[in-house]
Symmetry: C2
Subunit: 324 residues, 2 copies
C-alpha cells in the first residue's frame, strides 16, 4: 500500500509533466505559477490512496487525481480574489502578482483544464466520476458563498457553520477518496465509506484549525496565534460566542468586533477570555473528537485488509496532529 | 428540418425547466437572472440544427445544447467583470446588480453547471463530445486573453486579430454545430464540415460587426454608430489603420486615440476619414465575403439532402443580414 508520501511524490512528478501551452502567456503562466507553489497535494494523494485500498493499479487514478489538484488550485486562485488575499503559500497570490482579470480568466481556464484531465478517465467509470466531481464542485462553490454570506451576518447557527465547512473544505477530501475508490473497483457503498471518512476528517480538521488559531502554543504551532480574532473571522468560536454570550459579555464582544482601531494583543486577550468563560475550547474540542471518531468508525464498514486501512488512519493522524 | 425559430422555442422551454437550487441565493439567483435575460439562443439552436442535419432525434442533443448556452452565459458573466461592462442585454450586468465576488463565484458555478448538463450525453458519445467541449472552452478563454492583451498594444497583426476573433467568438458556434452533428450520428469528417461552416460564419460575422459600427446607416442599423471609434476598441479597422497609416495620418490617428477629452463627433469624423483614405471599408468587406464564402463552400462537402442544408444557409443569411 502506498503511503501519503509515496502518493505526493507521484503527483508532483506528474504535475511537472503537465503540458500547458506557452501562449497566451497571461493565461497559462499563472496556472504554472500556482501549480509550482509548494503544496502538500493532499487531495490528489487521497485519490490515489482511495484507489489503492481496492486495487494495486493506482495509475488508473492518476489523471483524475491531477484533475482534483488543478480544481483545488482553481478555487484557491478565485478565493484569493474574493477574500482579497495578497499572499498564497508565502508568495504573492495571482491577482496580486498579475492583476485581477488575469486571476479570473486563468482560474476559469484552470477549471476547464481540470475537466480536461478528468476526461482521461476510462469510459466505463466516466459517468459516475463526472457526477461525483460535478456535485462536489458545485458544493465547494456553495460553501464559499455561505462563507461570504456569514461574514456579513451576526447570527449564524452552528449547523449552518458545519454545513459551510463541510461544503467548502470537507466534501473535496471526501470526493477525492470516493473517486479513487470507484476507479479502484469499489462499489457505491464501499466508496461511500471512504467518502464519509474524508468528509468527517475534513470537518474535524477545520474545527481544530479554528481552535489552534486561538489556543495553540505559538512555540509548537509555529506561527502567530490570534489572527482570526483580530480579523473578526467567523470561526466556530466567534459564531458560538455570538450565539451564547449575554449581558455584559455580549456588549464587550460586539464592541470589540466593531472597533476599527484597537490594540491587537488587548483584543485577543479580551475575546479569548470570553471564549474561556463560555468554555468554548472544551466544547469545540469535543466536536473535533466527535467528527474524528465518526471518520474512524466509517472505516469499520470497509471490506478491506487492515493493512489497506492503516495508511488512511495514518493520514487522519497526520492531518489532526500536524499543527499541535 | 427544424428552423432556427423552432430550435429557439425548444431551448427556451427547456431552460425554464432547469432546476437550480434556491440556496445559497447569492450563488444561484444570478444564474437564473442571467438565463432569464432575453437572448437569441443561437449557440444551443446550432447544436439542435447540427444534430438535425443527420437525425430526426434532436432530443438527443437537448442537454448538450443547454450546456453550451449555460457555458456561453458563464463567459458573458465573467467578461462583463473583466470589461467593466455595467449593462448586459439592456439590464444591469451581474457584478453591477450584485457585486463582483458574486459574479465571479456564480460564473464559476455556471461553468460547473454546464458540465453537469453535458454529463447527460450518452456514454458512447461522451469522450468525443467532452473533448470538443474542453478544447473549445479553453480556446474561448485564450480568445478573451488575446483580446485583453491586444487592448494594451499598438501593434497587432491582422492574423493575430483573426485568431482572436476565431477563438473568442467563432469556435463556440463551430463546436455547437459539431457537437450536434456528432450526436446526430455524423462521423468526424462530416461533423468537421459543420465546424468549418460555423467557424467561418463566426469570423465573417465579427468582421462585419466591426464594419457596421463605423459605416452602417444609423437609421437602418438601429443604433448609434461610432462607439468603437470613441472607445478606441481594437477592431480590425483600427488595427489595420495602425498597421497601414504613415506620415501625417499616423500622427493624427495616434493623437486622437491618446486624447482623454475630445468632441465625440469630431473624433468619429477624423478617424472615419482615415479609414476611408486607407480604403478599409472595401478591404474588410472583401474579408467578410471571403469568410462567408468559405463557410458556404464547406457545406458542399456535407453528405446531406439539400433540404437539410437549407436551414443552415438560412441561418448564415440571418446572421449576416440582421444588422444591415
Amino acid at each position: 500500500m502506498l503511503s501519503l508520501h509515496d502518493c505526493q511524490v507521484i503527483i508532483n512528478k506528474k504535475l511537472l509533466e503537465l503540458d500547458l501551452p506557452a501562449h497566451p502567456a497571461n493565461l497559462y503562466d499563472p496556472i504554472r505559477y500556482m501549480l509550482d507553489l509548494e503544496a502538500k497535494r493532499l487531495r490528489p494523494s487521497l485519490v490515489l490512496m482511495g484507489c489503492n485500498v481496492f486495487s494495486d493499479e493506482v495509475q488508473l487514478a492518476v489523471y483524475p487525481a491531477l484533475a482534483i489538484e488543478v480544481f483545488h488550485n482553481f478555487t484557491l486562485m478565485h478565493d484569493d480574489i474574493m477574500d482579497q488575499s495578497a499572499m498564497r503559500r508565502k508568495r504573492p497570490s495571482v491577482h496580486a502578482k498579475w492583476n485581477q482579470n488575469v486571476a479570473i480568466l486563468s482560474g476559469d481556464a484552470m477549471l476547464i483544464k481540470a475537466y480536461d484531465l478528468l476526461s482521461h478517465t476510462s469510459a466505463s467509470h466516466m459517468p459516475q466520476i463526472l457526477d461525483v466531481f460535478n456535485q462536489t464542485a458545485l458544493q465547494v462553490c456553495e460553501g464559499q458563498q455561505y462563507d461570504m454570506d456569514y461574514e456579513e451576518s451576526l447570527t449564524v447557527s452552528r449547523d449552518d457553520y458545519i454545513r459551510m465547512v463541510q461544503y467548502k473544505t470537507a466534501v473535496l477530501l471526501a470526493a477525492s477518496l470516493k473517486i479513487g475508490a470507484l476507479l479502484g473497483g469499489a462499489d457505491e457503498s464501499q466508496s461511500d465509506c471512504l467518502y464519509e471518512f474524508g468528509k468527517n476528517i475534513g470537518i474535524a480538521f477545520q474545527l481544530q484549525d479554528d481552535l489552534l488559531d486561538v489556543f495553540a502554543d505559538p512555540a509548537v504551532f509555529g506561527k502567530v496565534t490570534g489572527n482570526d480574532i483580530v480579523s473578526n473571522k467567523k470561526t466556530i468560536l466567534l459564531i458560538e460566542a455570538l450565539n451564547l454570550a449575554s449581558g455584559k459579555n455580549r456588549e464587550v464582544l460586539l464592541d470589540w468586533i466593531s472597533r476599527k482601531q484597537f490594540n491587537r494583543n488587548e483584543k485577543i486577550r479580551v475575546i479569548k477570555s470570553i471564549y474561556r468563560e463560555l468554555q468554548l475550547e472544551e466544547w469545540v474540542t469535543g466536536k473535533v473528537r466527535y467528527y474524528h471518531e465518526l471518520a474512524v468508525d466509517s472505516l469499520n464498514y470497509l471490506q478491506a485488509e487492515a493493512s489497506r486501512k492503516s495508511e488512511l488512519l495514518a493520514f487522519s493522524d497526520y492531518l489532526m496532529n500536524r499543527k499541535k
